[in-house]
């Protein structure tokens, strides 16, 4: 089994040369146990520091979840001799012993080192979510089961400076988004959104039983060449909202369902849908989406707020994603207006 040190240069090197790095002793046993170690180093996933995990492969997403403008680095560790499988609905069935690893940081915070790393571990008892915050010296990270607010100052791509108290989610908040019928599941890696780095495309058959089924289908939200405004808006809603807004997710009771596969004409997609339990989130408006009128669509109002009584998503966002909101505004603005009801 090939394994990479997934720093960018290191990854290229290892794959190019076929080098194999020996695994730390006992690592897979700990991953598959019920242990919740205080230190991330116990897992042996980062023997060379926060930038270079020792994993199966790194991946990206065509349209990622917005998390306060963090740069996210995503990796997968699949146990030796096992393979993931793409299911008929496009979700990926990772074998027990798999770890999904996601590091969050900003280029201009901590010299680009990650602030936190979240693990999603597939154990025999199911998936477990563990948040770790990197120590000040960047050598190891410490478990933060209860979550924490970390003050950070960074610039977003348009040059705006943001000073926020970034929320590292607690273990339960991880589940709020990663929940399907009350069980934890991965949400990012789906066939329709999953991209391997070019350099390891040739080797997907090592890690996947049916690599041909990995067909990225959704557009890149901020690349007009990849799809129409509507298609990109729907991709954005799928990735940023539908992990809760689906009939088995944390927002099932809202009746607002925003999966890529949901009918965008249906009332459950928000068009002409009245608030259910929105409270102040309605902003005094009647409909989640008022066609042709983003200023009277409370879906936009909630995306553009950071007040916890109003803001959507409810966790993982302390800043407004201006560019994402602008795309959704454009989508709603170009819908034909409907007679008022």
């Amino acid at each position: 089994m090939k394994r990479i040190v997934a720093g960018v240069a290191a990854a290229l090197l290892c794959v190019a040369t076929g080098a194999t790095v020996p695994l730390p002793e006992g690592r897979q046993g700990l991953i598959e146990s019920d242990a919740i170690p205080q230190k991330l180093s116990a897992f042996g996933l980062f023997p060379f520091g926060p930038e270079a995990p020792l994993v199966s492969f790194g991946y990206t997403l065509r349209t990622p979840l917005f998390s306060d403008y963090t740069d996210k680095k995503r990796f997968v560790s699949i146990p030796d001799g096992k393979q993931a499988r793409v299911l008929a609905d496009g979700t990926i069935d990772f074998p027990v012993g798999t770890v999904l690893i996601k590091s969050f940081g900003w280029a201009d915070v901590n010299e680009g080192r990650p602030v936190e790393t979240r693990l999603l571990i597939h154990r025999a008892s199911g998936w477990v979510a563990l948040p770790y915050i990197w120590d000040a010296d960047g050598r190891d990270a410490t478990l933060a089961l209860g979550g924490r607010r970390v003050p950070v100052t960074f610039k977003s791509s348009d040059g705006t400076t943001h000073s926020i108290r970034y929320a590292v989610p607690n273990k339960n908040q991880c589940k709020e988004c990663h929940s399907l019928n009350g069980e934890i599941v991965p949400i990012g890696p789906k066939a329709r959104n999953f991209l391997f780095p070019a350099e390891i495309k040739r080797t997907t058959s090592i890690f996947f039983e049916n690599p041909a089924a990995l067909k990225p289908a959704i557009p890149v939200w901020d690349d007009p060449g990849s799809g129409s405004v509507e298609a990109r808006a729907r991709a954005y809603l799928d990735v940023n909202c539908a992990h809760c807004h689906n009939p088995a997710g944390s927002a099932s009771n809202s009746g607002l369902f925003l999966r890529w596969t949901d009918d965008p004409e249906g009332v459950n997609y928000g068009i002409g849908k009245r608030p259910t339990a929105a409270g102040r989130g309605s902003g005094g408006m009647d409909f989640a989406i008022q066609p042709g009128d983003p200023a009277h669509s409370f879906l936009i109002y909630r995306l553009e707020s950071t007040d916890p009584g109003i803001a959507m998503p409810e966790v993982g966002r302390s800043t407004v994603h201006k560019e994402g909101a602008a795309l959704l505004r454009q989508w709603i603005a170009q819908m034909p207006k409907q007679a008022s009801r």
Binding site: K171, N253, K273, G279, S282, D286, F287, P308
Partner: protein, 405 residues
Amino acid sequence: MRVHILQRAGLLSVAMIAIAAAPAAAKTIRVSAEGADANEKLQEALILAEPGDTVELAPGTWKLTDGLSLDVANVTIRGAGVAEGGSILDFTGQQGAGEGLLVTSDDVFLTDFAVLNTKGDGIKSKGADRIVYHKLRVEWTAGPKETNGAYGIYPVESTDVLVDSVIVRGASDAGIYVGQSKNIVVRDSIATENVAGIEIENSYDADVHDNIATKNTGGILVFDLPSLPMQGGHNVRVFDNIVNDNSTPNFAPKGNIVASVPTGTGVLIMANRNVEIFDNILADNGTANVMIVGYRYEHKDPNYQPLPKAIVVRGNQHGRAGYAPKFPGGDMVAAAMGGSVPPVLWDGAGDAIVLDEVGVLSLNLPDVKTPQSEAKPAPADLSKGTPPAALPAIKLPESMEAKVK
């Protein structure tokens, strides 16, 4: 009306005496509000608790910046009282999360603490079967304000729900809101200065009894709304409550269904079937003591049933009502009827039986698609006809009743 309501509601101020014996392996995790990391310690306790454990909140005030959550089954969160000097979870400085406390596991018992000034909902439980809310205070301390959170106590998508001896004040939607759930008891509680005091929405099989709903916009609401995963609300009994002086001007954010509730509403039934309203004391509700209406907004849900059906109103004591009707055109109707409208108001849609010996005003709008501007208000006699068989009392699992004994 039985007299025990006030005695039982009085329990709110009395310290709990009996504590049920816990299973041998169960442990108590004690957390205090002292120390810089008190908030993280509390959340960690809620994460590390194991089934059977109790998380015990010492007396004190936690100044919380983020929502708390519990996802472990069969855990008790027990405080040291709801009043000042008790265990207070103060969310005035909340920066994140849609509610103060979120419970997503079964068999959870919440008792004897207060949740104040959350930015969104107070305590929410979702998919949490057999949850018991007991001796809690959820309050927005500045009183009615549109900027208050929506729901105080908010169980949703659950089977077997008990809300017992709680007090909720200031919710900008409903103080006690039970949504999309089955087998529900709300009793011995006080809801005051909310938009809706107590609301049962898109739910089946509920008993709402021995509560006081006062100084809300509307006292007790039984609603069904379209385009939701669970709908077709039915089998709800509202009895032995005091529903009076619901006179607070509606302060709900527009767009929410409760923003349409007229100030001065006692009990409001919308688009449900088999609802019984009996043996309540209903008084000083300026629009109506009892209102029975269809869902009159446009909707696109072919499975939705917008009419109230098989509603029974009997044995209630009526005080003054209808002297300040806030439905459109209400003041003109009142003037034409000598200054006030009858205590029971029906929009004319669906069917209801009213055996109380008071007047009924019908707006004569049997088709919910007819605009309210075409109302032809006139007295109606709804005392004829045979009431459907009485609904059985709700029975909760014994494990739930044992917790509050």
